[in-house]
């Protein structure tokens, strides 16, 4: 997993886990049904706009709030390829990595990107190329510990392997 190509969907600061999966939908058993409520209070059209090509670009403190992993699962189910933010809430960051979704911490500013821009992320080089404006913004490369979990497609895949080797 080096290059990730997709189109941006831009969100602001402090998007919290209740925004992503409202509490009222937490008891829905069918995950695909639950995913239909993703970000419904922030953008009721989100579900229609999102494609298998979407990369989320957010501001500060993305995923603040609850430990509910549903707030990561719904994005995974919707096919979100990566989440880029100025900063992540701690539990949310763990949940993304554990689930095998690249979480990239990027200092970006107004004007660098617009909604819908096509971008190409290189995890290896630590760069995001805005293919519309040709702007390149750099980020600190993922620590190797984290990169390994992503390579394996998430921590449970990694764990399964070690469990198998033990048996």
């Amino acid at each position: 997993m080096d290059k990730i190509i997709g189109d941006l969907y831009i969100l602001g600061d402090n998007i919290n886990t209740d925004d992503i999966v409202p509490s009222h939908s937490l008891t829905i058993r069918d995950s695909n049904e639950m995913a239909k409520h993703t970000l419904e209070y922030i953008d009721p059209k989100f579900i229609k706009k999102v494609t298998k090509n979407t990369i989320i670009l957010a501001g500060e403190n993305f995923g603040t709030g609850s430990s509910r992993e549903e707030a990561v699962n719904v994005f995974k189910l919707l096919g979100i390829k990566a989440i880029v933010a100025k900063s992540f809430a701690r539990i949310y960051y763990r949940n993304l990595i554990n689930k095998g979704i690249p979480a990239i911490i990027l200092e970006w500013k107004e004007g660098d990107f617009s909604d819908g821009d096509s971008v190409e992320i290189s995890l290896m080089n630590g760069t995001i190329l805005n293919k519309v404006s040709n702007l390149i913004v750099t980020f600190s490369k993922l620590p190797s510990f984290i990169a390994t979990i992503l390579e394996e497609g998430g921590i449970l895949n990694q764990l399964k392997k070690t469990l198998n080797t033990k048996n």
Partner: protein
């Protein structure tokens, strides 16, 4: 090397000679708490691993609290899934049938499961609450829970620590909730992401255990990984009543390194609220006084303890809440409920016109027992006021201390508790 409390406990649990912030480590977990998440997500993740055991059924604490008793068929099914899992893997501390017990973060410490020096994780972001007991505790998601269930270990990045020095004593009508809200307002909801907050000083020692739990509960609202208090006589007395298990208290080294230091004189803290829809959106009570409310909620793992019920009862004693306001009181545990009953507090609440519910998360999560309708305004002793958190997305939630909640219920509008005490 000199170490902070977080560094010491993590080092102790990771079998390492040295440890430093930023390092990735794999640590042994002493206890894992899991609630509805077990039936909601964990069981699905865990079954994928294809193993028929958990690492240590004695080190899992399982309780149901969010939707208790279940208000809907879907939550009842979630409970069934959770109980089935707990039985299949033979959890020792299985409270899946004891719906009377109360909210996880209150019940677990009451039963003596949180002790100095421990490393505890839980399927809930407010697991940080146990830091009041001089241990490290933090919230995790379903995948992490599965990893811990299978291996008893979890990866951590060693956090930098902030030292929060507290001096002075809180004034009458001012509570530790006002302090922690003030701190979150000052450093913002992202001000402590990934950090461990250590609470030092005479001011911290003067806080009751109840008050410390409120502070540790809400450190996560500033983004923190841990919020930990130093051990003292108050903690020792508290633990003596709850457990016979041995523990060794953890003090930081004198020359431990802190990324930042803060000083707060508690006598300078005044009542504040967090306005909608962010716990860091802090305003002085004077700036919001008179704002009309529809509901007042006293409860949750943040503020549903004896100290909280006592001050609210003191304010409401012999009086009636405003006729246009509804008040809901949810003691955080059955132990507290019974205690309050014996002290006559429950009678005070009922006589004042409040509804008293069983111990559950209930209204805090907008789940049941007090869900807000469109445009309803609620003053709440809970920890989060996100859009739609307590009900309809157009409702507004102001976070405040139990004293402010009770005073506001009395007047039907946001009220400075110092005026009615």
């Amino acid at each position: 090397m000199s170490y902070t409390i977080a560094e010491k406990i993590l080092k102790e649990h990771s079998n390492l000679k040295e440890i430093s912030p930023g390092q990735f480590i794999n640590s042994d977990i002493d206890l894992i708490m899991v609630h509805e998440q077990l039936g909601g997500r964990v069981h699905i993740e865990y079954e994928k691993l294809g193993i028929d055991y958990v690492w240590d059924p004695d080190k899992i604490f399982f309780i149901l609290d969010h939707w208790v008793p279940p208000p809907t068929i879907s939550s009842a099914r979630m409970h069934q899934d959770a109980r089935k899992f707990a039985e299949k893997y033979k959890f020792t501390n299985n409270y899946g049938y004891q719906l009377d017990k109360g909210i996880c973060h209150q019940v677990l410490p009451e039963m003596g499961f949180a002790r100095p020096g421990m490393l505890i994780v839980g399927s809930d972001s407010h697991t940080t609450t146990y830091g009041a007991f001089n241990c490290l505790s933090t919230g995790i998601g379903a995948t992490d829970v599965s990893v811990v269930f299978a291996t008893g270990k979890m990866w951590f990045k060693v956090p930098e620590s902030f030292k929060i020095n507290l001096s002075g004593t809180l004034d009458k009508g001012v509570m530790s909730k006002d302090f922690i809200l003030t701190l979150i307002g000052d450093i913002s909801t992202k001000g402590a992401i990934y950090k461990s907050l250590e609470f030092h000083g005479n001011g911290a020692q003067r806080l009751s255990i109840d008050s410390r739990m409120t502070v540790a509960n809400m450190v996560v609202e500033a983004g923190a990984k841990f919020g930990v208090f130093l051990p003292d006589k108050k903690l020792k007395d508290w633990l003596e009543k709850r457990t016979e298990k041995q523990y060794s208290k953890v003090l930081p080294d004198e020359d431990a390194e802190y990324e930042k230091e803060f000083h707060y004189n508690l006598s300078e803290i005044t009542p504040v609220v967090a306005k909608p829809s962010n716990p860091g959106n802090i305003a002085n009570i004077e700036d919001v006084e008179g704002y009309k409310i529809d509901q007042a909620f006293l409860g949750s793992c943040t503020n549903g303890r004896m100290e909280d019920l006592r001050i609210a009862a003191k304010i409401l004693n012999g009086k009636k809440i405003n006729s246009n306001t509804r008040m809901i009181v949810t003691p955080a545990s059955k132990e507290i409920y019974l205690h309050a009953l014996r002290e006559g507090l429950i009678e005070t609440f009922l006589s004042a016109g409040a509804v008293v519910t069983n111990s559950t998360c209930g209204a805090c999560i907008g789940g049941h027992l007090g869900v807000l309708g469109p445009k309803d305004v609620c003053i709440s002793s809970t920890n989060r006021n996100f859009i739609g958190r307590m009900g309809d997305p157009s409702s507004e939630v102001f976070l405040a201390s139990p004293a402010t909640v009770a005073a506001s219920a009395l007047n039907g509008k946001i009220t400075d508790p110092r005026e009615v005490l």
